[in-house]
Symmetry: C2
Subunit: 199 residues, 2 copies
DNA sequence: TCACATTTGTAGCGCTCACTACAATTCTGG
DNA sequence: CCAGAATTGTAGTGAGCGCTACAAATGTGA
C-alpha cells in the first residue's frame, strides 16, 4: 500500500485563518477566494480537507470553541458565582475588543440570518453559543447548592442573562464600540448579579 | 407637460414586505428575486423606486425606525427611569417573539458583518440602533435631573447597557428562544436598574 | 385626440459565486 | 526503482447574483 502525497499545509493554522475571515465577513460574506487566499491553499485542497464551505465553517467553529473551552474553564473555576460573572463579563469586554482578532464574537457575527441553502448556519452558531450558557448554568446550580447564590435565584435564568449580555456586547463591538464602553456594560450587568448573590 | 404612467403599487406596503425578507434572511441572504416576489413588483420597478438593493434596505430601515419611534415615545413617557427600563425590556421580549414578525430584530439580524461591497450595511444598522440608545440616554439624563436616578448613576452607561441587553435578546430570539426565556432575561436585567433607582 | 412622460413586464446582461475535472507532483510500500 | 495513493495547481464549470435595455402599456396636459 502507498500512502499518497502528504498534505503541504497545517490544517489548524489554515483553520485559524478561515476563522478570521468568517469572523470579519460573516458566513455568507466570506468567499471561497478570500478563504483560500487567507489559508494559503487552493480550492481543491480546501474541499478535500473540509468538504464544503459549510464544512469549513463547522471545523472553524469547533476550533473556536476548543480554544474558548480552556478560557471558560479558568472562568468557571472562580470561587463564587459573582466572581464567575465578573470574570466572564470583563473577559468578554477585553476579548471582543482585542485588536488581534476581528471585533465582536464569531458566534454572533458569523451569521444570525442566512439565505436559502444556508438555513442551518444560524442554528450551528446558536448551538455553540449554548455551550457557554450551559456551562454557566451548571456552575450556578453548584453555586446555589453551595449557598453561594440565594435559594431564590434561578441558575438557568442567570446563565441565560449573562449569555444575552455577552451576545449584546458582541453586537456592540462589531459596530465599533471600544473596550471602555463594553466594560461599562459589564459593570452595570454585574449589579443585576450581586442582588442574587450572598457574597 | 405630461405626468407619465402612475405607479401601480403602494411603496409603503411594498417596503413592509421587503422589511420582512431582510429581517428573515439578512441583507446578503435576501435576493432581489425574493424581494420582488414579496413586494409583488418586478425588478425595474424596484430599481426605479429605490435605486439599488442597498437603497431598498435603507428605505426599509427608515420605515422600521419610523414605526418603532411611536413605540419608543410611549416607552420613554413612563414616569420613572425604572419603569422606562421595565417597559422597554418587557416590550422587547414581546415584540421580538411576536409571531406576526420574524423572530428577533431587523437591526441585529439584518447583517452584523457583510462581504466586500456591502461594508457599510453593518454601519447603517448600527446607526439605527444608536437612535434607541440616544433616546434612552436623554431620558435618563432627565431622570437624574429629576432625582429619579441616583446622582452616582451614569445615564449613558445605563442606556448602553439596555441597548446591549436588547441586542442580546435579539440574538437569542433569532435562534428560537421563546417569549418566556426573553422575559426571564428582561427580569434579571431589571435588577441592575433598581440598584440605581430611587423609586 | 395626440405628443409626451413615466411605469410596467420580458428577457437577458456581465459577473461572481461555490465547486470540480484533470493532469502533474510527491510521497510510501514492496 | 517502480506501482499506487493522495495532494497540488491550473483552469475552468453551471448556476445564481444584482442589475438593466427595451418595447409595450398607461397615464396627463395641450
Amino acid at each position: 500500500m502507498a500512502m499518497g502525497r502528504p498534505r503541504a499545509f497545517d490544517a489548524d493554522a489554515a483553520l485559524d485563518q478561515a476563522m478570521e475571515v468568517f469572523w470579519r465577513h460573516g458566513y455568507e460574506g466570506a468567499t471561497i477566494a478570500q478563504l483560500t487566499d487567507a489559508m494559503g491553499i487552493n480550492p481543491p485542497s480546501l474541499y478535500a480537507a473540509f468538504g464544503s464551505k459549510e464544512g469549513l465553517l463547522k471545523a472553524a467553529l469547533d476550533r473556536y470553541s476548543a480554544k474558548r473551552a480552556c478560557w471558560l474553564e479558568q472562568i468557571v473555576s472562580a470561587p463564587t458565582a459573582r466572581e464567575v460573572a465578573e470574570r466572564i463579563l470583563m473577559g468578554t469586554a477585553d476579548t471582543q475588543t482585542d485588536p488581534a482578532n476581528p471585533p465582536g464574537c464569531l458566534l454572533v457575527q458569523g451569521g444570525l440570518a442566512c439565505g436559502t441553502g444556508s438555513e442551518n448556519v444560524p442554528f450551528e452558531l446558536a448551538a455553540h453559543r449554548a455551550q457557554t450558557e450551559n456551562q454557566l448554568r451548571d456552575r450556578f446550580i453548584r453555586a446555589r447548592a453551595e449557598g453561594d447564590l440565594k435559594e431564590t435565584a434561578d441558575p438557568a435564568a442567570l446563565a441565560r442573562y449573562l449569555s444575552a449580555v455577552i451576545a449584546g456586547m458582541g453586537v456592540m463591538a462589531s459596530s465599533g464600540a471600544d473596550r471602555e464602553a463594553l466594560r461599562q456594560v459589564a459593570a452595570v450587568s454585574l449589579k443585576a448579579f450581586e442582588e442574587q448573590s450572598n457574597s
